[in-house]
């Protein structure tokens, strides 16, 4: 009886410590920011500094943040599924240092961005999309016959050089204000 009481209190104590530690971890890793739409959340882990800096100087900075282009905007469920999946992949890659320095968007990511380009610039692209639907296959992940917006609009919004060399003086996590 005495033994089982000890186990009970020990287990509860350790559980409380774990909860406390978890709360600290949520704070240290700024985890709550991932629930927001603040672009700063995307540079928590230092990898996206270049993308953040180039976006900050772009014509899109006033109008659209990271998630406006990179996450699905059709409904909340799709948005949060994509957010969770990307977040998991990114945190694994950063923690274990398995990512390449010249980051390339995934086919799924490219498809999302393409859809978002069209959705914001609908009035500009409506006739174009009607015309191009005859020739281009936006849904084809290999884009064998189609073109993505940024293949011509190369500098939008991250600059033509897409990698660490774009922002040479943006070392570490220095933010461009």
């Amino acid at each position: 009886m005495k033994n089982s009481n000890f186990l009970k209190y020990a287990a509860l104590l350790v559980f409380v410590i774990a909860i406390g530690f978890f709360a600290y971890m949520v704070h240290a890793s700024k985890a709550l920011s991932y629930l927001s739409s603040d672009p700063k959340a995307c540079i928590n882990c230092h990898v996206m500094n270049t993308q953040y800096a180039t976006w900050q100087h772009s014509s899109h900075a006033e109008r659209a943040g990271c998630i406006d282009c990179h996450l699905p905007r059709d409904n909340m469920v799709n948005k949060y599924i994509a957010k969770a999946r990307d977040g998991y992949n990114h945190s694994v890659a950063f923690t274990f240092n398995t990512y390449k320095n010249a980051i390339k968007i995934s086919d799924d990511g490219a498809k999302r961005v393409q859809e978002n380009c069209i959705s914001c610039h609908a009035s500009l692209t409506s006739q174009m999309t009607i015309n191009s639907d005859n020739d281009h296959k936006y849904d084809d992940p290999s884009v064998a016959t189609g073109r993505r917006c940024w293949e011509c609009h190369k500098g939008v919004p991250h600059g033509k050089v897409r990698g660490l060399a774009t922002t040479p003086n943006n070392l570490g996590v220095k933010e461009v204000k």
């Binding site: 350790v14 530690f21 978890f22 500094n49 320095n101």
Partner: protein, 510 residues
């Protein structure tokens, strides 16, 4: 009770996992703080020693130290034997390897058979100028002794002084860590060409100009001067031949106008010019140079490790860092890009072999014409053609990356070299015939041995005296340098691995 056991174990596992993650986050935060460290206004004491800089720039230092990995000794004379004939009578016909990493710059200068086997501070064969590009000890010597004194005398004079290999202080100011150049020849060359000085250049231009301290075409200009005591001395000053511009034709005219020759080819008795390593000049004419991509962009790419970003100081072929070097701009596959680069090299090799085969034969046929009694007046035009042919060919190949930096220019130069060598050979046929030599066929030079025999290079004797030098004078140099504190105790120069390999001692050391 079971559920409390589960709760205990589960909580402990969760705490363990979170502790690991917390450690990772703390480590990344520490990296951010480290970045802010920098040397003070007082500068770095003993700045020629790269080990002293490691306290502030550990990653840059560690990556610089990795230039040790580039230790391949590619015997270029074995690969391209015709070079020994082209360079007959010149130290390059003795020993010429593809370059190793910056880590080895001083040691390779000492090991090369080209620098001979001096027995004391006054013996040759080469001048002190040969140290200029090898070490941050050189600007130190220029500051201490004066530039003209530094350039006076034989190479062995500074054997115990020039001990730290190309390192931090070669390109950086020790107070601010900004890019800087402390050797005077670069700015003099830029001024002669009417270009902006190093200090007036943009940061991006400086990221190539620091390389241009060494990776350029230069010659040693004989300069008479008097020291403080009034003694007449002769300095051999490193000088960039840019007065008529940075083109190969401009430099050729510069050398012709002052009647300069590095040496006289011992077979054809032609006054020759040896191209050094005009990497910077050729890069400027190629597409990357014209688009403003700097040397450092590809050879010292920005690198991300955890929370920090720094320039990789392991200067090497960008094909080894394609993700960080090429893929920033080029969005196709690494394999495809690599294939394009290799194709450029194959095209260069194709034309190089043809052009230098003709240059080698022109030398040998001229030698035969001399034997048959042809006069200098008869051979004058031919020798000019050979001189220009070899200069242009050499300019195309002397910098190992030129085939990539400026592919069209390299092929243009090799085409022009081949044309002039052929013109010389056509004229030689009639001169040989005039002196009664019909159907002469030059002996083969398709192996290093055959070519060096024609160039009269006595390898066993050269190797024997070099090994003796390494056992005697070189050992004294290293001892003195260590005793006088010119080397850090953990210096690379004291690393036996640095001296473990050469093109000749592996075969000759027992």
């Amino acid at each position: 009770m079971m559920k409390f056991k589960l709760l205990l174990v589960g909580s402990l596992v969760a705490i363990g996992a979170m502790a690991l993650l917390a450690g990772n986050i703390t480590e990344r935060e520490k990296q951010r703080v480290e970045l802010a460290k920098a040397p003070s206004e007082a500068g770095i004491e003993g700045k020629a020693k790269s080990e002293e800089w490691a306290k502030y720039y550990p990653r840059q230092f560690d990556s610089w130290k990795k230039t040790k990995e580039s230790d391949n000794l590619d015997d270029m004379l074995a690969k391209k034997p015709y070079l020994a004939v082209a360079w007959a009578g010149y130290p390059f016909s003795k020993d010429y390897n593809a370059p190793r990493g910056h880590y080895y710059a001083v040691q390779d200068n000492i090991n090369s058979l080209r620098t001979g086997a001096p027995t004391d501070a006054k013996t040759g064969p080469l001048p002190t100028a040969c140290w200029t590009c090898k070490s941050p000890d050189v600007p130190r010597l220029i500051e201490e002794d004066g530039e003209l004194e530094y350039y006076t005398g034989k190479w062995a004079k500074y054997g115990a002084q020039v001990v730290n290999s190309v390192g931090c202080a070669t390109c950086h100011d020790d107070k601010t860590a900004q890019l800087s150049v402390r050797v005077p020849h670069l700015n003099r060359g830029l001024a002669a060409a009417g270009l902006k000085s190093f200090e007036e250049s943009t940061h991006q231009e400086k990221r190539s100009l620091v390389c241009a301290q060494c990776h350029v075409e230069y010659y040693f200009q004989k300069t008479e001067w008097k020291d403080a005591k009034g003694d007449a001395k002769t300095a051999m000053v490193v000088t960039l031949p840019y007065k008529n511009g940075l083109t190969v034709e401009g430099m050729e005219k510069y050398y012709d106008d002052i009647n300069f020759s590095d040496w006289t080819n011992s077979i054809s008795k032609t006054p020759m010019i040896k191209a050094q390593h005009p990497d910077w000049e050729l890069w400027r004419t190629g597409i990357h140079g014209q688009k403003g991509v700097s040397c450092a962009d590809c050879h010292m790419p920005y690198t991300q490790e955890g929370a920090v970003k720094y320039s990789d100081h392991q200067v090497q072929s960008p094909l080894k860092t394609m993700d960080k070097s090429c893929m920033n701009c080029h969005r196709e596959s690494e394999e495809k890009l690599k294939g394009i680069v290799h194709q450029k090299m194959e095209r260069k090799d194709f034309l190089m072999d043809i052009a230098f085969d003709n240059i080698g034969k022109a030398h040998i046929e001229t030698g035969r014409a001399i034997e048959a009694g042809a006069s200098d007046a008869e051979l004058k035009e031919i020798r000019t053609l050979i001189r220009h042919a070899q200069w242009r060919g050499d300019m195309a190949i002397a910098g190992h990356g030129a085939f990539f930096h400026a592919p069209e220019e390299v092929l243009r130069l090799l085409g022009s070299a081949n044309d002039q060598a052929q013109q010389a050979r056509i004229k030689l046929v009639s001169i040989l015939a005039k002196h009664g030599v019909m159907d002469y066929v030059a002996p083969e030079f398709d192996t290093k041995d055959k070519a060096q025999k024609i160039a009269k290079v006595d390898m066993p004797a050269l190797i024997a005296e070099k090994l003796k030098f390494k056992e005697t004078l070189e050992k004294e140099w290293k001892k003195e340098a260590a005793a006088k504190g010119r080397l850090a105790p953990n210096s690379v120069a004291l690393d036996p691995a640095v001296d473990s390999k050469s093109s000749y001692f592996d075969k000759n050391k027992k």
